[in-house]
């Protein structure tokens, strides 16, 4: 096993990786940008290195800067986490050239899985059903019109180099095709430096299921019980669970077999996930995620396998610590992604300082978080601040534990997706396990949100009490106890802050 590991990431995933590595006695080296000087992930490390400016290109995406940090700290290996450089074949290649182990798939497997057309072709060649579509780049609008007519509407443009739901554009009618082609192409160029698009048949009311795979250096493989990630908004996952309520044991065996066979066929190693669409009892290949995924904890919690430990074992050529025959899955696990976004304002990003923070506790709960009270959530990076995972013997138990956990999770100072989760968990369709990828939009879950949560209700109640306290002066119009509150406020200010301006204490007590 390695003795020194550099973790080239930030936030909850850097902390998550460091937990396992330190437990194995590995010296952990973190990296941080200017915006993360006081970030929590630095505290999870044995040491950490300043790698530059806040902009990702000048820090977490800077290949040479990260390699310099690894060299300066004598790191033997680099764990990339997810996002940033995790699926960048150029980075994997540079690590190899510098004699540093990249904890992930080989560069050529990354190059293949990063190209949606190449991976579709590769899966088809080994007999895995692929979502209907065309296995070449769509060159012109006329080309797209012909192909869409053959496939039948609705169709979906995807960036061949894309990921994370970016650059995907659904087209329902021929008259919208040209505009969608142009805009998807420019989004793809701006985000991935490559405007190439492919075209797939859009599958209505599909479920998104995926299989986590581990492949050892000798190609020995393990496929895990599927995760279902159908609860999405604009192609971004919000809630994941395992097992899928829709997958039978027979289907599960076929999914796992297909995923392991597909990744083995393309020379994949380490941890990866094969995504499928499930529709009408059939499954078709969607794409490969060549990294540890955000939602990996639900697989860990039902199997007891530490996926980061397995990644490190594979990278260190220590062999897999688990085999397919001994793998067991217990109960049901659900993950809710807690993002700094305001679901009551169309998921508007909500960066800022967290002034109050308390995680829920209780049986069957796990929280992977990147923040604490006093943490800044910078506007520069991804909005994920924490992942809440609930486990139970049955799906119902897991849902009930999650409901209690969501209600008990306090994050003040930034808006979060907690109110969305509160509403989703109460949705009858969710409770029945009737999930599909556009359910959040189709059921108008966000539009029906009424309240940000118990905390805001408390604030509203205090405001109402303040208002009636000064109510004597309040007419039928708006002349509400202004003078009494002002005097009260003034008194409070003089007492505490000598008449100062905004007095916001950085931490709150519970």
């Amino acid at each position: 096993m390695f003795r020194r590991l550099l973790i080239a990431n930030r936030g909850e995933i850097a902390i998550r990786v460091a937990r396992t590595a330190r437990q194995l006695g590995i010296h952990c080296i973190g990296v941080y940008s200017e915006a993360d000087r006081t970030a929590l992930h630095r505290l999870a490390m044995d040491e950490s290195v300043d790698i530059g400016r806040a902009a990702p290109a000048q820090s977490y995406l800077n290949v040479e800067g990260i390699l310099r940090a690894a060299e300066a700290t004598a790191a033997e290996a680099i764990h990339p986490g997810y996002g940033f450089l995790s699926e960048n074949p150029g980075f994997a290649r540079r690590c190899e050239e510098e004699g540093i182990v990249f904890v992930g798939p080989p560069a050529r497997a990354l190059a293949l899985s990063g190209d949606k057309i190449a991976s579709r072709t590769a899966m088809r060649e080994v007999g895995i059903p692929v979502t209907a579509g065309v296995d070449r780049v769509v060159r012109t609008v006329e080309d797209a019109e012909g192909l869409a007519a053959e496939l039948g509407y609705p169709v979906l443009f995807k960036a061949t180099a894309g990921g994370g739901g970016i650059g995907m554009s659904r087209v329902d009618r021929p008259e919208d095709l040209a505009a969608a082609f142009e805009s998807a192409g420019s989004v793809a160029r701006a985000n991935f430096g490559n405007p190439d698009l492919l075209l797939e048949k859009y599958v209505r009311r599909a479920r998104h299921v995926e299989v986590q795979v581990l492949l050892g250096e000798g190609g020995e493989g393990v496929g895990f019980v599927e995760r279902e990630c159908s609860v999405q908004r604009r192609h971004q996952k919000l809630v994941e669970e395992t097992p899928s309520p829709a997958v039978t044991p027979a289907l599960r065996r076929r999914l796992i077999e297909a995923a392991v066979r597909g990744l083995r066929a393309v020379g994949f190693r380490n941890a990866g996930t094969v995504e499928f669409l499930l529709h009408g009892g059939r499954f078709t290949f969607n794409e490969v995620n060549a990294r540890l995924q955000v939602e990996h904890p639900i697989t860990e919690i039902v199997t007891g396998v530490d996926l980061v430990h397995e990644q490190l074992r594979i990278a260190a050529r220590d062999g897999l610590g688990v085999s397919q025959s001994e793998l067991r899955s217990r109960g049901h696990a659900i993950e809710c992604r807690i993002n700094a976004e305001d679901p009551l304002r169309n998921f508007l990003p909500s960066p800022g300082r967290i002034v109050g923070y308390a995680e829920p506790r209780g049986p069957g709960l796990r929280v992977d978080s990147g923040v604490a009270a006093g943490s800044d959530v910078p506007p520069t990076y991804d909005s994920l601040v924490a992942k809440l995972v609930a486990h139970g013997r049955t799906r119902d138990t897991a849902i009930r534990r999650m409901q209690r956990a969501v209600d008990g999770f306090r994050i003040h100072g930034v808006r979060t997706t907690l109110p969305f989760h509160r509403a989703l968990l109460r949705e009858p369709a969710f409770a029945r396990g009737a999930l599909w990828t556009t359910m959040v939009a189709d059921l108008r879950i966000v539009e029906r949100l009424k309240s940000r949560g118990p905390w805001e209700e408390t604030v509203a109640a205090i405001a109402a009490a303040l208002a009636v306290q000064g109510r004597l002066a309040m007419g039928p119009a708006l002349d509400l106890g202004r003078s009494s509150i002002s005097r009260w406020a003034l008194a409070g200010r003089q007492e505490r802050f000598g008449g100062g301006g905004h007095a916001v204490s950085p931490r709150r007590r519970w």
Partner: protein
């Protein structure tokens, strides 16, 4: 009326109006309806099916038995109709501030441009998402105070407009 209410260090923008059916509150832009009644030593606030007892004493609010520290550092004017995030310097001028900090990736108008209500003025990138900042009203762009590529805070004035 509008005021800023800080509860246990967590600041909130509050708007209260009194309607025929009790109080209408907006906490950070989200609407709540409540009925509040004074009793001998407390205020009982009914919100939906919930009933919450609140005792106010100095800088403490005892909410159903648990104490919270409260401050009202700022009481805004009674003008409840002012558009969100637009501060009126004079009646006809409006200053546009972004709804959150981020980086200006594109400026889509020029000084002197006539813009329609809802037209995108600038595109702000925050948390890997692009957010369009619209004109709050039909207006003429008098000044643009940011440059493409610049990082801005949430209270920074991006543009000032003359409402037409």
């Amino acid at each position: 009326m509008r005021f800023r209410l800080v509860v246990d260090g967590d600041p909130h923008d509050v708007e209260v109006t009194s309607g025929a059916r009790g109080l209408e509150l907006k906490i950070d832009g989200v609407a709540y309806r409540a009925e509040a009644k004074r009793t001998a030593d407390a205020v009982v606030v009914r919100m939906g099916r919930k009933s919450i007892s609140i005792r106010l004493s100095g800088d403490r609010a005892i909410v159903d038995g648990s104490a919270h520290r409260i401050e009202v550092p700022e009481v805004a004017d009674v003008d409840v109709q002012a558009p969100d995030r637009v501060a009126a310097g004079s009646a006809r001028m409006a200053e546009v501030r972004p709804p959150m900090p981020g980086r200006i990736v594109r400026i889509l108008v020029q000084e002197g441009s006539r813009v329609r209500k809802g037209q995108t003025l600038v595109v702000l990138e925050a948390m890997k998402m692009q957010n369009e900042i619209p004109a709050p009203a039909d207006a003429i762009v008098r000044e643009i105070r940011v440059a493409e590529g610049e990082s801005v805070t949430g209270d920074r004035v991006v543009a000032s407009l003359e409402i037409v």
